[in-house]
Every structure is written in structure tokens, then in C-alpha cells.
Amino acid sequence: MDITVLQNFAANNLWGAIMPEIMLGVLALALLVIELLFPKQQHQMVPLAALVGLLCVLGNVLATFHNPHVGTETFNGLLRHTRDGQIMRVFFLLAALMVCLLARVSLAKQTMPRVEFYHIVLVVTAGMMLLAQSNNLLLLFVALETVTIGLYILVSYYRNNSLTLEAGLKYLVMGALSSSLLLFGIVLLYGVAGNAALPGHTAQAMHYGQLASFLAANPHNFLASIGIVLVLSGVAFKIGAFPFQIWVPDVYQGAPTPVTAFLAVSSKAVGFAVLLSLSLTVFASYGWLLMPVLTFFAGATLLFGNIAALTQHNVKRLIGLSGVSHAGFLLLGVAAASRAPMAVGSIYFYLFAYLLASFAVFGVMTHLAGANDTDQELDHYAGLAKTNPFLALVLAVGLGSLAGIPPLVGFMGKLFIFISAFQAGLYGLIAVAVVGVVISIYYYFGWIKAAFFETWATSPDAPAKPARTPVDLVTGIALGALALSTVVLGFYQGPLGAWLTPR
């Protein structure tokens, strides 16, 4: 082995291209160091360090948004840096920022160690960022497992609560099963794509581009189609598409609220990032398979999520099921993406809208949760508008945006998805989506009703509610910013509007 080979590879392993991920990794390690070096009293530094660090990384990403790596492949084709990848980086960093903020509030009510939480959140976020830029099935699997195993831990983090552990176990078993399915799918794809007897076979069978050209040469290979559906089932688990959504309410309820938010926003988004890159590039030539599958996923997910949420009282389960319906909406966008040029932009816009609104709601939920994080009922919201109008307002804005009511940004997301779907001619799915939206109004409205309309006067026989955490300045600013941007982006998109333009 001569040294030039190594040099070539070294030249190809452009670590600078994944600077933000590396910074996150370093930040995660630094947190551990802080915990070791400083006495226990100063451990509140940890979340602050995480927040400041995240802000720095975010700043870095934004500053180098149009860096020269965009549009190129690095690490021998393991990664491919695209504008979408950059967008998702911003997305995951924002989400991580909010998760850390909420964790600060939530962990304060627990007797759990702190630093590991932030550490894992940072590492998982880095994993997600890589996942969104992955260009190789191997890296896809490895990064996905990093994310997943991190989430197993996070979900069961409040181990004093047996419900949380139960949720962790359920998530673990189902997650591992879906990982197995995904893996077997990858293996099958790898196997057929490298098979010398087939036209277009390739030595780099895990590379997206190579695999795509192989699949294009063999548009009806049975094993490949089985591999594709197995990969899709693995991704479907991540995004909670019917029928792989069944874990959602249980796990969302059991998980600590910040982790629920992490699952609901980041984990779902990463699933969509992967699904988009797979369906638009790798599996593009298997439209005959992809379209019906995505259509089925979208329709069934939309309906099931909304219907199951209809009578739900536990807000964590409720937001989980509503999240399922949002996944259905996004799937509608993915189904449209192959035919409608603006669908991809719509999906990203929707994801951001979903991020803003979800974290607004989760922020309120975190403040309303008691020490028992799994017990969050709609009844606890009674009179919120009176006792804490700020949180009530944030909640209303968030829920309104989730429901897709103008002038909130969630409406714009839905509008763009609708337009894309119409351009793609998915009329049946649009009908389902309309039904879904109408049904969803019921439970979102019920939640707002609980917070605003009911029992302004506190009745003495009302069931006891967990004590509400007062809002501190930083979280308050963050929640306010979320609500404000949810409102403002609803009618003024400004330069962000350019994202949506067909490319």
C-alpha cells in the first residue's frame, strides 16, 4: 500500500466540510470536562455552555451557509453537501437549542444527572446532521443507529419513573426491530446492486448515486423492491407513518417532555430528510412502487393520526398523535415531490413551521408538567389564560399554527403542501388531508378551549393540578420568539420565500 493512496483518501476526507458536526462533538466532550473540572454547585454552567455552544455552531452554519462544499461529495461519497443539507443543519441546531432550553426547565424538577443529557442531545444532533447529508447506505445506518441509540437513552432518562422506563423499553424493542428491517433492506439492495449478473451492477453498491443508476437499469428487480420497502419501513418508523406509528403515543407519553419534543421534531425531521433524499434520488426509478406506498402512507397516516387524537386527554399522547397527522401531511409533500417542483421547498417550510409551533407547545407543556412528567392532562390547562396569560398565548399560537390557521405559519406550510400536491395531481390525498384538517380542528380547539374558555373562576372541587413552573427570562424570550416568528412568518416570509421557489 503506497502512501499516495492514503494521501488521496486524506485529501478526500475533508473534515472542514463537517465542521459543525465536529464542533458539536467537541462541545459534547467539553461538557463532560466541565462536569469533571468544576464543583457540583456550578453545574448549572453545563446547560449554559451547551446553549452558548449551540448558538456558536448555529452562527457558524449560518455564516458559512453558502460554503464551497455545497454541491459536492466528500468522504469518498459518504456525504453529499447540499443546500437542503444546510437547511436541515440549521433545523437540527435550532431544535437542539430548544431541547436544551426545555431540558433546563424540565431537569430542574428531577433528581437526574444533567450533563449526560446535554451530551447525548448534542451527539444525537450531530448524528442527525450527518444523516441528513448522508450519501451512502452504510453511513446512513451508522448515523441512524447513533441517533436511535441516543434516543433510547434519552427516552428512558427519567428512570425513577417506571412509565418512562416502560416507554424506553417499548421504543427500544420497536426501534431495534425497525433497525433490523432497515438493515436487511440495505443488505438486499447492496446484494443485488453488486451482482455481476445484472446490468449496471456496481462495485460501490452502497453509494446513493451508484445505487440509483443500478436501480434505473433494473426497474423491476424483485429483491431490490423488497429492499426498498424494507428501507422504507425503517424510515417509516422514524417518521411515524401508519402502521409504524403505533409506538408514538406510548413513547411520547413516557419520555421526558424535552425528549418528546426532540422525538417529535428532530427525529421526525431526520426521517423526512432521509426519505426525501432516498425517494428523490436513489429510489427515483422505482416510482411504480414508491408512489403507491407513499400515497398509502400519507393517506392512512393523516387519517389515523387525526382520528386517534380526537378523544385523547393526555396532552403528550395528543401531541404525539397530532404529530402523526403532521407526518401524514409531510408524506403528502413527499409523494408530490417527484412531480411538483416546489414540493421539496414546501416540506422544508412545513418542517420549520412545525418546529416553531411544536416547541412553543412543548415549551408550555414543560412548564405545566409536574414532577411526574408523564402525567399531563388536558384538565391541567384549565384557567391557564387567567393564571399565566403569556404561556396561554404561546400555547394558542403554537396550537393554532399546528392546526394550520392563518395568519400563522403553519397555514402557509399546509398551503404550500396543498399546492404541491395539487400540482402533482394527488386529488384523493388532498381530500383526505382536508378531512384530516377539519377533524384536527376539534382536538386543537379542545385544547385551546381548556386553556381559555373553561373555568375562569377556579372551582373548589377541581382536581389538583401539578404546580406550574414560573417562566424564567431566557425561556420566556425563547418562547416569545417562537410565537412571534410563528405569527410574523405567517404573513411575511421575506427572503425565506425564495426557499420555496422551484429549483
Binding site: P113, I120, A126, G127, I153, N195, A196, L223
Partner: protein
């Protein structure tokens, strides 16, 4: 000769896998898993992946199965409970069995792959060098990621297992 070995190892693998599934006793199931792994390692050898066979035995048999046995002992689970299937679960199980077999059947029938004979191909996996070269050049990034994966897994296990000073005394 080789086909006899293949037959032997594959039979061992499959039977032991079935053993894992049907054994009422968890310890026995773990034993079956161990034997199953040996069978797979044998198949690896058939495929000239000596290193992987070795690692499989080392990691799985040496670490994972041991861990399983250790936990089984620790928890002292009464693994002898009967399956206790009611009508509906039996039905569901049978249905699942039928469906899975159907799936398997279709893969066997429709998923036929033409491939050249093994002996006409260079056994790249037989040597150690390509592994090293690939891991440290092409797949360096995943290796790094795996490092972080192991780190957080470790931290996670600690968090989930260690008793904390701040924690309230166990009930």
C-alpha cells in the same frame, strides 16, 4: 465437501434459531443463541470471512451472550412460565407464521440471483489488510461516529444503572 459443511452449519444455525424462539427457559434460549452464532461463524468461514467469523464469536458469544446470561442470572427470571397463549394470540401467531413463510417463499422463488461460483472469485475478505485499509480510509468517518456511539451508550448505561447521590432513597 464444502456443501456438506454448508449443510451442517446452516442446519445448526436454523435449528438453534428455532431453539431460541421456542425454548421456554431463557437460559436455554441463550444457549441456543450461542450455538446459532457458532453456526453462522461456520458459514462465515465458508465464505472465506475468517476475521469476521472470529470477531462474531468473540463479540457475540464472548460478550453479548455472556451479558445476556449474566442479566438472566441477575434478574433471576423464572423463565419457565408457559407460553400461555390464548385463542387470539395463537391465531395471531399462526397468521404471523403463515405470513412470514409466505414472505420467505416469495424471496426464495422470485428473488433468484445468478452469481458466479465462489471459487472463481478472489476472496478479498480472507485477508486482514483490506479491512484495515478500508476502515481507515474510506470508512474513517463512520468509525469516528461509532466511537461517539459507544461513548453515549456507555454514558447511557451509567445513567440508567448508577445510583446517584442526589437520588431519593429507594423505596
Amino acid at each position: 465437501m464444502a456443501s456438506i459443511l454448508f449443510l451442517l452449519f446452516s442446519t445448526l444455525t436454523v435449528l438453534c434459531a428455532v431453539g431460541v424462539v421456542v425454548n421456554k427457559n431463557a437460559v436455554n434460549a441463550a444457549g441456543c443463541l450461542l450455538l446459532c452464532l457458532v453456526g453462522v461463524a461456520g458459514l462465515f468461514v465458508q465464505l472465506d470471512a475468517y476475521l469476521l467469523a472470529f470477531i462474531l464469536l468473540l463479540v457475540y458469544a464472548g460478550a453479548v451472550v455472556a451479558l445476556f446470561l449474566f442479566i438472566i442470572m441477575l434478574l433471576d427470571v423464572q423463565g419457565r412460565q408457559s407460553f400461555g397463549f390464548s385463542g387470539i394470540t395463537t391465531f395471531a401467531g399462526l397468521m404471523a407464521f403463515a405470513l412470514l413463510l409466505t414472505g420467505l417463499g416469495t424471496i426464495a422463488v422470485k428473488g433468484h440471483l445468478d452469481a458466479p461460483r465462489l471459487n472463481r472469485l478472489a476472496a478479498e475478505g480472507a485477508n486482514l489488510k483490506p479491512y484495515a485499509q478500508q476502515l481507515f480510509t474510506t470508512y474513517l468517518l463512520p468509525v469516528q461516529i461509532i466511537g461517539f456511539l459507544l461513548l453515549i451508550a456507555m454514558l447511557g448505561v451509567i445513567v440508567l444503572s448508577k445510583k446517584h447521590a442526589t437520588e431519593e432513597p429507594a423505596k
